[in-house]
Structures are given as C-alpha cells and as structure tokens.
C-alpha cells in the first residue's frame, strides 16, 4: 500500500512537472511557399525561418527534402528559447511541366510536433505550350459544323521558337490564326487560333488531333487531342449500360429508348449483341417509326467474368446503318 502511494506521488509529481514545462516548440511563420510560375531548368530558392517558441532547447535533427528538391541543414541546429534560424530550400524545375509540389520534413525534439512539414510548390512552364491542352467540341449535329474553339500557343519570353505549322489530323477539321502575335507583360508571346469541325463528320465520337510543329529541338511538336460527339438523327437515351456485379445464374435486364428526329421514319431492322452468346436483345415499338424500347438481358447461363461489348442496332437510316450502345457486366463466380 505504501509503495502504491509513493508511486502515485511520484507519478503526480512528474505529471505536474510535465504540465508546467512546455519543452521545445518548433514553429515556422509560413510553412508553405508558392514560387508561382517558373521556366524549366531553373533553380528556385526560398528561405524558411524556423523559431523555437518553447522554453527548452530545440534540437533540429534532420531536414529531409523530397526528390528534386534540396534543403540544407541550418547552420544552427540547437536553438535556445526564442532563438531562430533558417532553412534554405532549392527546387529544381528540370523538365517538369505543370504543378510541382514538394515537401521538406524537419525532424526535431519537439515532442508535440516531431515532424514539421514545409511545402513548396510552383507551376513549371515549358518553353512553349498550348492552352487548352485538349478540347472537346461537345455535341452537335452531323449536318452542322461545330462551334469554333479558340486556343493559344504561348512561347516564353527569351525563347526564339518558330512555329512551323499548326496542323489538324484530317480534312474534317479546320484551324486558322486569328491575328498577330501578342507580346505580354512578362515577355511571353501569345498566338491565337480557332479550330472547328466541318459539317459532314461521321456520327459517333470524333477523335482527331491538332499538331503544333516548331523548330525547338527538345520539343519539336505538341499534339492537342480533340474530341466531339457528332449526333445523327437516331438518338439513344443511354449509350452505356451498366449491369454491375451479377451473381452467377442471375438474369438481369436493362432498357433504353431509341428516338428518331428528322423527317424520315426509323425502322429497326435488327439488334445484335457482341460478343454473342451471353445477352439477348428485344425491341418494342413505342411510337411508330419514331420511338422504340430496346431491352438487353444478361442470360442465366452467362459465364463468370467481366463482360464488355456492344449492342448494335441496325437501322434504315443512311449514314447511321448501325448505332451502338455499350454495356458492361461483371458476373461473379458464385
């Protein structure tokens, strides 16, 4: 009993001593630093101030940068209360493109915060770039041209890059310059263009590129992916059917509606599900020549596994002889 009382007294004493002593405390007035925009192959430098706001000596044990980022140990590794030091950080932009974020971990004897994380970030700009880096023309009718989408090619100040050509991957697209080069306040030069898909594209997902060719050896060309949904007169209410996870032996159905716009009536001549053997399809006419319901059913005898395929609807419409919807299903082994 005596031992227990003594132990409790010692514990209480130690707890009281701990609560009255705060110990070393590491602090940094600004733990994150954004370098803003920077060119490639640069070394960006920043100084973080580290201060001991506690009441005991702060020991900086390690300074650990993440890759491509250097951070020197401070000259003063032991800081008395209220004393400060600095950590010099260098971030190499190398040939990165876009946002760059790095963390420098400062390990100390601050028991409340044994690791202080300092963040540095920036946006690395290549010598020239295209903005936006890809674009989607959205949905438009096959008989119309798409809307025009503007884009710019920016060359950084101090670079002598000649843009040799800006070329679409097919005759279906046009690209034209919309004016003279404009020199901006930061010395970079901006050239403006617009791109458009001409009328008459095939129905479905259009996928093209615009290639920007320059005389810059390290990055002779930039490819801008371009997409669009070209709509015909046969419209599906769903283009992707998800049967989700199905149990082995389970029959499951999904439905979608086929609508027809334009003057001529639609006749559905047949529906094929590919790959064959796992699904059945049935068509029901809801409005003569204008609206149909297609029901796709996963068969009970479908083998386990991930199934992906297409529902191919054969029609009488010129240019839309086959209209496709995609399906996904996963049949479990049990």
């Amino acid at each position: 009993m005596k031992k227990l009382v003594v132990s409790l007294l010692i514990l209480a004493g130690s707890l009281s001593a701990q609560s009255s002593s705060r110990g070393p405390r590491i602090s940094c007035p600004r733990e994150t630093w954004d370098f803003g925009k920077a060119a490639q192959q640069k070394e960006l430098k920043h100084v973080f101030e580290i201060k001991n706001t506690g009441d005991d000596v702060l020991e900086i044990r390690q300074v650990i940068p993440s890759c491509n980022c250097a951070a020197a140990m401070p000259e003063k590794k032991r800081l008395s209360p209220s004393e400060s030091t600095v950590i010099n950080v260098t971030l190499k932009t190398l040939t990165f493109k876009g946002r760059l974020e790095k963390i420098i971990t400062v390990v100390s004897n601050d028991r409340q915060r044994p690791q202080l994380r300092l963040n540095v970030s920036g946006e690395v700009l290549p010598p020239y770039y295209v903005k936006p880096s890809s674009f989607n023309f959205g949905k438009f009718s096959k008989s119309d041209p798409s809307k025009e989408i503007p884009f710019t090619i920016v060359t950084l100040g101090g670079t002598q890059i000649e843009i040799k050509e800006v070329m679409p991957s097919s005759d279906l697209m046009s690209v034209r310059s919309t004016g003279d080069a404009e020199t901006r306040a930061d010395g970079s030069v901006m050239r403006s263009y617009v791109a458009q898909v001409k009328a008459g594209a095939s129905v479905g997902l259009l996928r093209e590129n615009i290639t920007v060719v320059t005389d810059f050896k390290n990055l002779a060309k930039i490819v801008i992916p371009v997409t669009a949904d070209v709509a015909g007169e046969v419209l599906l209410s769903l283009q992707n059917l998800n049967f989700g996870a199905c149990k082995l032996g389970q029959e499951k159905s999904k439905e979608f509606i086929v609508n027809k716009s334009g003057a001529a009536d639609l006749a559905i001549q047949g529906v094929d599900v590919l790959p064959p053997g796992r699904f059945d399809a049935a068509v029901e006419e809801l409005e003569k020549g204008r609206k149909y319901k297609v029901r796709v059913t996963l068969r009970k005898d479908a083998k386990p596994g991930y199934l992906k395929g297409s529902v191919n609807i054969r029609t009488n419409c010129p240019g839309e002889k086959t209209v496709r919807a995609w399906f996904h299903a996963y049949v479990s082994k049990k």
Binding site: L100, R117, N136, K217, D229, L238
Partner: protein, 435 residues
C-alpha cells in the same frame, strides 16, 4: 489490429517515399483512431493501373480494392469518396477507362464521386448520361444546366454528421453546363446546413491555390467543422497548415489512399499501394477487360495522325551509311521496346505504344505491327525524325542532332523516374558521323 498495422505501414511507406523518418505517427496513440474514417481518393490523372515502366509501380484500382476489402473487415463503418479527376483528357480510350473506373468503384462500395474538369473533358453530354451508370451518386453543388443542379447537391455519409459535396473550378468549353463561382456556391450550400450538427467535407477538384482561396471563403461560423479536400500535384497526401480551415490533399495518380479522421488528433494519414499488394481478382478481371477493349477497338491503329509527306524508312536504311551508330544501338533496350510491351499485352494501349515505336502520330510513321513492321521499337527515326528526304537528297534529318532534353518526351517523371541523362546517355551513345 489492421488499422494499427495500417498506421505502421503508413509510417514505413512515407519513409520509403520521401526519405522522412519512420516515426511519423505513433500507432499506439489512441487519439489517432478517434472518430469515423473517411477514405479519400481521386486525382488519378488517368492512372487506373500503375504504368509498369519502372519500379516501384505503385497504385492501381485492383490493389486499392484488395486493401479496402481488408480494411473494411477491421473498420466496417469506413466511408469512401472520390474527388474526381480520374482522367485528364477526353477521347474514346478515356471513356473506356472511365467506365472501368466506375465499375471497379461500384464494386469497392464508393458513396460519392465529385466529377471534376477531367470528367468534363469526356464531354458534358456523355458525363451527364453516366450519372445513371454507377450505383453511387455524382455530387457537386456548383454545376447547373437549365437552372438545375446537374449532380446531387450533397451526400450524407451514413447516419453521421458528415456531408460531402463537390465543387468544380471554372471549366471552359463545358457544353451547356454553367459552373458557378465555387466560393459563392460553398457559402450558399453551407447556409442550408445546420451549424450545430453538420460537418461538411468539400471535395474541390481544382488546384492548391483554389483550395486555399476556398478555405479563406468559409464563413467564420463553419471554420471549426469544415474540411476542404483537393488533389495536389505531390504523389502522397498532405495537409496545408496555414489555412483558415483544414485543407488536405489526396495525392495524385492513385498511388495512395488518404485517410481522413476529422475528429482525431492526427487528422490525415495515408496508405501507399505497394507492388506487393495482390490485385483484387474481380477488379483485375475488369482491367483485363479494359485492355481487351483497347485491342478490340484497334485504338493504336485508329490513333489520329498528322499528315506527313516525308517518309519513315526503318533502321535498315540508316545502316547503309551509319553502320557504326546502328551497331552501337542494336543491343540497347530501345531496340526491344515493342517486345517489352507485347510481353505484358500493353501493345494495344496507345498510351504505352506511343513511346515504344517509331514515328508515332505521323501518317508515314508506325501504324500497326502488321502494316509497318519496320517501325516497331525505338529506332533511329524515333528521335531524329523521318529519314526519307535525308536519304534521298542528303538533307539534314528533321530533328538533326538532339538536345539532351529530347529524351524526356518518353523518359518523363512518371515513366522513367530515375532518368538521368548523364547516366543514361552512355548506354546508347553512338558516333554521329556517317560514311
């Protein structure tokens, strides 16, 4: 126990990633486990599976599914949400990838996805159709069409106080969809909640600067209970420390799971999806299905190409005048680049094939193994450009003598993180002069 082991793993993983010490978190500290666990993902930037070009190849939805299945046994009440930007660009392959993401996330039991600019680049019409594809809702409070929100405004996580919404930064070229100012939309949304009960988790799929601005816009009354989540460019999750409300990042490229415990002393920890984690059988099958679809759709062959007159000849033509150079290059991995992706069945994937052939993206360059067998692998013209004019009329090759940074077109930080020109160049050094 698994959670504790997770935290140990977290600690070790972090150490392995950036060299920081291994005592990052104390697993025996009970405050670390306080309150509900919200597992955050997103910002995969197209990495549905690890690239596999270099080691360690971290991440992938198949490993994520395995780990979450284990974690759920230990912590069945965990919540799982994604802040979107699963992709960075549009196109057929990206849509196929997105659908595979959706299938796998359905299986993993996601509760919400906040579509971001990456998803909108698939096409607004397509994205809106995809709302009914997955069993979990798309959330977002600042995207409108015809005056109506296009996504569910918010989702409550279980019966608890946590409410998740999504915020999209200003996106250009979104057909028919109006994106309202994120800060204003956030304030309006918070105004509809109960400050004494609700705990908002805001999935913001913009950049760090935007996330910081959003944090500053959170009204005073909500500062104690709101968390802003964003993607970030750093691979691993991290927390910004000098913001008005907590701002946490989920990391990028799907290599980590971010663990958010808003009520715990250590709010954010993470788990690194290491190579050793065996991929979930069902999700692996989905990934195989995705790869098969790329082959079925012949996407490599259908890749849009720049019209070009100058032809690619293949290195058999180069050797006539540049025998020494060709000999020096013969034994290098560049000459086996195609075989290396064929072995892993990745040669049907345009994202892989583009760096393993010669003349990618040019009409006279690589089309398919069958049509242009001379242009498989990374041969002379892959770097120096098409050689037809050079061979016929002795002009300079289009790309001439190359600068050292030319290599980073393919040897980029994702696919060749250890690339160092000084170390790599000697492996393929070849004399420049011809006969």
């Amino acid at each position: 126990m698994l959670v504790a082991s997770t935290l140990v793993a977290v600690t070790l993983a972090w150490g392995a990633l950036d060299g920081s010490p291994r005592a990052a978190v104390e697993p025996e500290d009970p405050s670390l486990l306080a309150g509900p666990l919200i597992v955050l993902t997103g910002n995969e930037k197209g990495f549905i599976r690890p690239c596999g070009c270099s080691k360690p190849a971290l991440g992938g939805v198949h490993r994520r599914a395995t780990w979450l299945e284990k974690l759920r046994k230990e912590e069945p009440g965990l919540h799982l949400v994604s802040l979107g930007n699963l992709l960075v660009k549009g196109g057929q392959q990206q849509r196929m990838k997105f659908e595979t993401f959706m299938m796998s996330m359905d299986l993993m039991g996601y509760q919400a996805l906040a579509p971001g600019p990456g998803e909108f680049s698939l096409g607004a019409d397509y994205l809106l159709q995809m709302r009914s594809f997955a069993s979990f809702p798309f959330v977002g409070c600042n995207a409108f069409k015809d005056g109506e929100r296009v996504f569910k405004e918010s989702v409550r996580l279980g019966d608890g106080p946590y409410l998740v919404t999504g915020l999209i930064p200003a996106v250009s070229g979104v057909e028919g969809v109006v994106i309202k100012d994120p800060a204003t939309s956030l304030t309006e949304w918070l105004g509809t909640l109960d400050v004494n009960h609700d705990r908002p988790v805001v999935l913001f799929n913009g950049d760090r600067k935007g996330a910081v601005a959003l944090a500053a816009a959170v009204p005073e009354a909500w500062r104690g209970q709101t968390v802003i989540v964003f993607g970030g460019a750093f691979d691993g999750p991290f927390e910004l420390t000098d913001t008005a409300v907590p701002v946490v990042s989920v990391g990028s490229k799907g290599r980590f799971l971010a663990y958010l415990r808003p009520e715990a002393k250590t709010r954010l920890s993470h788990f690194r999806l290491e190579e050793e984690i065996v991929g979930h059988e069902d999700v692996s099958m989905m990934l195989d299905g995705y790869r098969q679809s790329l082959a079925d759709e012949k996407l490599v062959e259908k890749y849009p190409r720049r019209p070009l007159e100058n032809g690619y000849l293949g290195d058999a033509s180069c050797v006539e005048c540049h025998e020494d150079s060709c000999k020096a290059l013969d034994p290098t991995p560049h000459e086996h680049a195609w075989a290396s992706i064929k072995e892993t069945n990745d040669h049907h994937d345009p994202e892989c094939a583009s760096c393993h052939v010669t003349g990618w993206g040019d009409s006279t360059g690589f089309l398919s193994e069958a049509k242009t067998p001379k242009l498989i692998n990374v041969t002379c013209e892959a770097c120096h450009g098409p050689g037809e004019e050079h061979a016929n009329i002795q002009t300079k090759t289009p790309n001439g003598k190359l600068g050292k940074n030319f290599c980073v077109r393919c040897h980029d930080p994702d696919n060749s993180p250890h690339f160092d020109f000084a170390k790599y160049w000697p492996k393929i050094a070849h004399p420049p002069e011809g006969k």
